[in-house]
């Protein structure tokens, strides 16, 4: 069911492009408005019809994409949107084309810095810090033990590296997202 682009009458009324990033994966989504209705194009793929069934105040977004029903909850997050669909919940960053171009210059350096920071996944009490600056760490090694929700949670290194800085010490209370250890 591809739109008939040969017809002059069915020229797009508007095309808006968004860049959507989920984790490390990025996709370009073009939303195409035509007299015949709404269509969507992913990257260089074909145009597919999109029908909106419901957009409710609590976040429900139900659509039919090329005949397939998608029922989701979409909410706002600090840095984008949270989408709950098919038992999965993901955070997505959505930029329209202009914003994406502006952001791309700074993104490289910022992303590298973010990946090296070990942050508190929740507020809690630092029970132990197992590493010191200059120390080499292997993937999976426990860096900090954080007590929260009646549990001792071991925060581990996601990649091998060297400890650049330790920002907290045992006995200290930390907030969610606070940087605990920086790896280089």
């Amino acid at each position: 069911m591809t739109a008939d682009r040969s017809s002059e009458l069915d020229r797009p009324l508007a095309v808006t492009r968004y860049r959507v990033r989920v984790g490390d994966q990025e996709t370009t989504v073009a939303i195409v408005e035509r007299a015949a209705g709404l269509f969507v194009r992913l990257d260089d793929g074909p145009e597919r019809p999109l029908e909106i069934l419901a957009r409710l105040a609590d976040g429900e977004l139900s659509v039919v994409l090329d005949g397939e029903l998608l029922r989701a909850l979409v909410g706002e997050r600090e840095a984008g949107r949270m989408i709950v669909y098919g038992g999965r919940s993901v955070d997505a960053t959505v930029l329209d084309e202009r914003a994406a171009r502006l952001a791309s210059a700074a993104a490289g350096s910022r992303r590298a810095a973010a990946e090296a920071a070990i942050r508190a996944p929740m507020p809690g009490l630092v029970v132990a810090v197992n590493v010191e600056p200059g120390q080499a760490v292997t993937r999976g090694m426990t860096l900090v033990v954080l007590s929260a929700m009646k549990m001792q949670n071991e925060l581990t290194a996601r990649e091998a590296g060297t400890v650049k800085e330790v920002h907290v010490s045992a006995g200290q209370t930390v907030d969610q997202n606070q940087v605990l250890v920086t790896l280089a």
Binding site: V20, T27, V29, G75, V127, Q152
Partner: protein, 499 residues
């Protein structure tokens, strides 16, 4: 029967007990911390009183305040739920001293079972099989290391006063004993107020199978079959089912008999659970008795047709059990998935935040026990269990399909949940084949960092479309608690208005 019962708990289990009280014509009294004012368990009760404080220690663990409130409001009995004061013999004794019925086993039985070392001694003496290990608390890390070498690795360090996997560490190598001992000991001290640990041989690739027991005050003890609870992370259960794919009628009868024997050995009454390890060869060992209602009790209710909370209330009021062992028949298959506010893709770390929208599952064979609703804040103060989704069907394959369907209907916006993990599990070949052990999550679960292309496409379309339709416009979700507050204040203003 009682006419009024105070529920000394919060969250889904408080709601569960409120429902049972309603069904038996008992007035249900809720209590709440400052953080829980307006929480679902409070708003569903008949009466509610503030405990003050925010942390568990300042609120739901305040035995003195709970008893004072129960006396003042005229409650005759206290239901402790699970966790908090549920297995605290001092609280049970204090209730009795204040003239209140504690809905649970007698304090003496709790005392005997509460310390796992004393429980092991009693069970050994009663002829109940136990795992090789020490019977006493180990004073120092160095002594723990010596003992571990004697028993042979791997070993498990466990909290003497603990349960639920807190204060527990598995140690595989001699050089790790001392640091594990310190961590487990700190965790035990923080969670149970007692740092003592004991040690035992780790049974490799065991199943965790438990038997539900029910005992009245007239000497009748029955068992209600088993629950398979092997799917765990951090030694805490995520999914349970009944019956267990590894237990046949003969083994069930054998394990049930042992569980009944364990209950009789300590003069147990009310509902309780005998946890056991089942090895690959079909040998089973006593682990501990959980002297309370278990989180996963709904699946036993689904396959036996017996309401455990009703039975708890009846037994505590002095009624004899209305059925015998031969009346207990398991029918069909039940599965429970614990919907936790945790991120399965990031080591099951707790996820906090405000829940802005909830889509609950419905339909044939589906049961949801929960206090889950939009507007609710998930804080690091309490447990991360949001709701328990249980299904019943005529056999295991049908139950797996039904659970997969119900999970697909379950959507929670605002925090990470274990729903995606559960969906994966329901179609994970070893689980589908019934081949599980307590390490299945650690061994087989792969965090989903890469999305399959078709899924990424759908999510990208949804995200872009939400942006397209709404921009950064604010959601107009009214937190349920506040919404009700607004209606109440409007009603109050209307009532005060002079005509």
């Amino acid at each position: 029967m009682f006419s009024k019962v105070l529920i000394a708990n919060r969250g889904e289990i408080a709601t569960r007990v409120v429902r049972a009280c309603r069904e038996l014509g008992i007035r249900a009294v809720a209590v709440f911390s400052d953080a829980d004012r307006g929480a679902p368990h409070v708003r569903t009760a008949d009466e509610a009183y503030p405990l003050g404080g925010t942390t568990a220690a300042e609120s739901y663990l305040r035995a003195d305040r709970l008893i004072e409130i129960a006396k003042r409001c005229g409650a005759e009995a206290v239901h402790p739920g699970y966790g908090f004061l549920a297995e605290n013999p001092a609280f049970a004794s204090a209730c009795a001293a204040a003239g209140l019925v504690f809905i649970g086993p007698p304090p003496e039985a709790m005392q005997a079972l509460g310390s796992k070392t004393s429980a092991r001694k009693i069970m050994e003496a009663a002829g109940v099989p136990v795992v090789p290990g020490t019977l006493d608390a180990i004073p120092t890390p160095a002594e723990a290391a010596d003992l571990a070498r004697e028993i042979g690795f791997p070993v498990a360090l466990k909290a003497v006063s603990g349960g639920g996997g807190r204060g527990m560490r598995v140690v595989e190598r001699p050089e790790d004993v001392e640091s594990a001992f310190r961590q487990a000991s700190d965790e035990a001290a923080a969670s149970f107020g007692d740092p003592s640990l004991y040690l035992e041989r780790l049974v490799v690739r065991p199943r965790h199978v438990e038997i539900q027991i029910l005992a009245d005050q007239h000497g009748n003890v029955v068992h209600l079959g088993e629950r398979e609870c092997s799917v765990q992370r951090r030694h805490q259960k995520l999914v349970e089912e009944s019956p267990s794919p590894a237990v046949d009628a003969a083994l069930r009868a054998q394990m049930g008999e042992v569980a009944v024997k364990a209950a009789q050995a300590v003069g147990y009454t009310n509902a309780g659970t005998c946890e056991m390890l089942l090895d690959q060869q079909g040998n089973f060992y006593f682990l501990e008795v959980n002297a309370r209602l278990q989180v996963e009790h709904p699946i036993t209710e689904l396959v036996t047709g017996i309401d455990l909370v009703h039975q708890q209330l009846r037994v505590a009021a002095g009624e004899p059990l209305g059925f015998k062992q031969s009346d207990v028949q398991l029918r069909g298959h039940a599965i429970e998935c614990r919907i936790q506010a945790e991120d399965p893709d990031n080591q099951f770390f707790p996820s906090t935040g405000r829940i802005t929208a909830v889509r609950a599952p419905h339909g044939p064979g589906v049961r949801l026990d929960g206090a889950l609703e939009a507007g609710m804040d998930v804080t690091p103060l309490y447990d991360s269990l949001l709701a328990k989704l249980s299904v019943w069907a005529e056999d295991r394959p049908a139950a797996l399909a039904r659970m997969f369907r119900a999970l697909g209907e379950t959507q929670v916006l605002g925090v990470r949940t274990t729903v995606g993990f559960h969906r994966w599990l329901m179609r994970h070949p070893p689980f589908v084949a019934g081949d599980v052990d307590t390490e299945i999550v650690q061994r087989d679960w792969m965090p989903q960092t890469e999305l399959p292309p078709d899924e990424l496409e759908r999510l990208a379309v949804l995200a872009a479309l939400a942006e397209h339709l709404g921009g950064r416009r604010r959601q107009v979700v009214a937190p349920a608690a506040e919404a009700e507050g607004r209606w109440l204040s409007f009603a109050r203003r209307a009532a005060l208005r002079v005509p």
